[in-house]
Every structure is written in C-alpha cells, then in structure tokens.
C-alpha cells in the first residue's frame, strides 16, 4: 500500500496532493529568499538562502524534473551553500563595519525600486501573454536514462565544454585564493 502510494507520488505528484505540491514549496522559496535579502546578519542570510535552495529543489521535483531537483539539492545545498558559509566565516570583519550598509550609489530604496519596476514589467508581460495561460499538460517525466543518453549524445560537446569550464574555474579559484608567495 505504502509502496503503491509512493509510486503514484513519484509518477505524478499532482494527482496525489494537487497543485499545492508546487505552490507550497514555492511560497517557502519566496519567503525565505525575501528574508535572506533583507536580513542584516550574514550567517542568517546564508542559512535562509540554503532553505530557499531546498525549496527550489522541491519545486523542481514537483514540476516533474526529479533529476534537476536532486542536482539542485546536491550542488546548491551541498556545495554552494557550504562554500558561502565558509567564505563568510573566513572574512569576518576585523573592524566594525557598517553592517548591511547601503551601497553609496543606489541604496536599499533604489534597489527595491529597480526590483519593483522590473517585477511590474515582467508580471505585465506574463499576465498579458496568451501563451502563459496554458493549462498544465498531462504529467511528464524525464527518465534519468533518457537524460544520460541525451548528455552522451546530442549534448556531448556541451558536456565536455562544461567539464573544461569547471576544471579551469576551480583551478583558477584555488590559484586566486592561494597565499601570496614571499
């Protein structure tokens, strides 16, 4: 029984719990992201960012992209959030800085104004486009085998390029952060 329930859930999460399965993590995502943006304490911001990464991964899974959801959880929650926390700990301010101070040019009000302007423009486009009123199609799935075959087939050049990019970026990051030689 439980196994059947689990199979239904993986095959089509929408059928079991309705669209709340997408809406709920999305709400958590937006709330934690908003909190991460406004909170003063850097460590709190990093932890709230981690929560929003988790919610984003669950949103991906709810939308039927399980593989991307788990990649999101592994890469962002496992790696990116970790190195952000490490960077915060390594760069603790030695002197008392004006924590959360505004950038001299634009400031929090300016940033919020630009954000709201962009949001208004985007929402106007989204809600006026007939394409965006498309209802949810039948449940789809992207089997991992198909993703693997696509990565090794049509997208193999991109895969190799991303491997080179990651190697170069990580070696470069290690070189940049290395102690200066005397």
């Amino acid at each position: 029984m439980t196994c059947e329930l689990f199979k239904t859930f993986i095959a089509d999460p929408m059928k079991l719990v309705g669209e709340w399965f997408v809406i709920l993590p999305a709400v958590v995502l937006l709330l934690s992201a908003a909190a991460a943006v406004v909170v003063r304490n850097l460590i709190h911001a990093a932890l709230l960012l981690t929560l929003s990464f988790i919610a984003l991964g669950i949103t991906f899974i709810a939308l039927g992209a399980e593989f991307v959801g788990f990649v999101q959880l592994l890469v962002y929650v496992g790696a990116v959030a970790m190195i952000i926390v490490f960077a915060i700990l390594l760069t603790r301010p030695d002197r008392l800085t004006k924590s959360g101070s505004a950038l001299s040019g634009i400031g929090p009000a300016g940033g919020a104004a630009v954000g709201f302007a962009l949001l208004a423009a985007l929402l106007a486009f989204i809600f006026s486009s007939p394409m965006a009123r498309k209802p949810l199609p039948a449940p789809v799935s992207a089997p991992v085998a198909a993703i693997g075959e696509a990565l090794m087939g049509d997208y193999v050049v991109a895969l190799i390029a991303i491997g080179v990019l990651l190697t170069a970026a990580l070696v470069g990051a290690a070189v940049i952060a290395m102690e200066d030689k005397p």
Binding site: V22, I23, A26, L29, A33, A36, L42, A45, L49, S52, F53, L56, T59, F60, A65, F67, V68, V71, Q72, Y76, V80, I83, I84, F86, A87, T91, D94, R95, T97, S99, A102, L103, S104, G107, P108, G110, G111, A112, V114, G115, L118, L119, L122, I126, A132, R133, L136, V140, A142, A150, Y155, A158, L165, L166, L170, G172, A173, A174, I176, A177
Partner: protein, 102 residues
C-alpha cells in the same frame, strides 16, 4: 495551475535577487543575490519544459543542468575573489575595493 503562476513565482524571485545585488554593499550579499537570480532562470527553464507540447525534448532539462554547473563554478570563483580581496584590504564591502592596483 497555469504557466502564469510558475512564471510569476520566478519573476518575484528574480526581482528579489536583483534588489539584493543592487542594494547590498557586502560582496557576499551581492553573490547571494546573483544566486537567487540564477535560480529564477532555472525555474523558468523547468517551467517551460513542463508546459511544453513536446516534453520528450529534454532541452529545458539540459539547460537547467548546465546552468547549475556554471553557477557552481561562478560561486567558487566569486568567493575566491572575495577571500583574496579580504586578505588585501581587510574588508568585504564592495565600495572599499576601489583601487585597481593598491
């Protein structure tokens, strides 16, 4: 459930990230804003794939996977630069790093 809802969620997320990247002066907070914007872009890729007429075409999934990989590389390099700047000028405020050679 329509495509609109998912696109609106992603638009709000992108605007939040943009506001953070523009208004905070701490370099790490700027990076956090950039990560939020990248997440919003990924959400759009997945949404358009989910609502497409031909979901067996995996282009949306592939874009999201490659975008996550590039974002990881970007975060590593960005934080390495922040650590280097902190070692040189003892600050992570973007305003303080105003010299090209100091």
């Amino acid at each position: 459930m329509t495509l609109q809802i998912v696109l609106a969620i992603s638009a709000v997320l992108f605007a939040l990230g943009l506001a953070a990247a523009l208004s905070r002066s701490n370099a790490i907070m700027i990076l956090i804003g950039i990560e939020l914007m990248l997440g919003a872009a990924n959400l759009n890729f997945i949404a358009f794939w989910r609502f497409s007429d031909n979901p067996s075409d995996l282009a949306g999934i592939m874009f999201a996977i490659f975008s996550i990989a590039v974002a990881a590389a970007e975060a590593a390099v960005g934080l390495a630069i922040i650590i280097l700047v902190h070692r040189r000028i003892k600050s992570v405020e973007a305003d303080d790093a105003s010299n090209l050679k100091g």
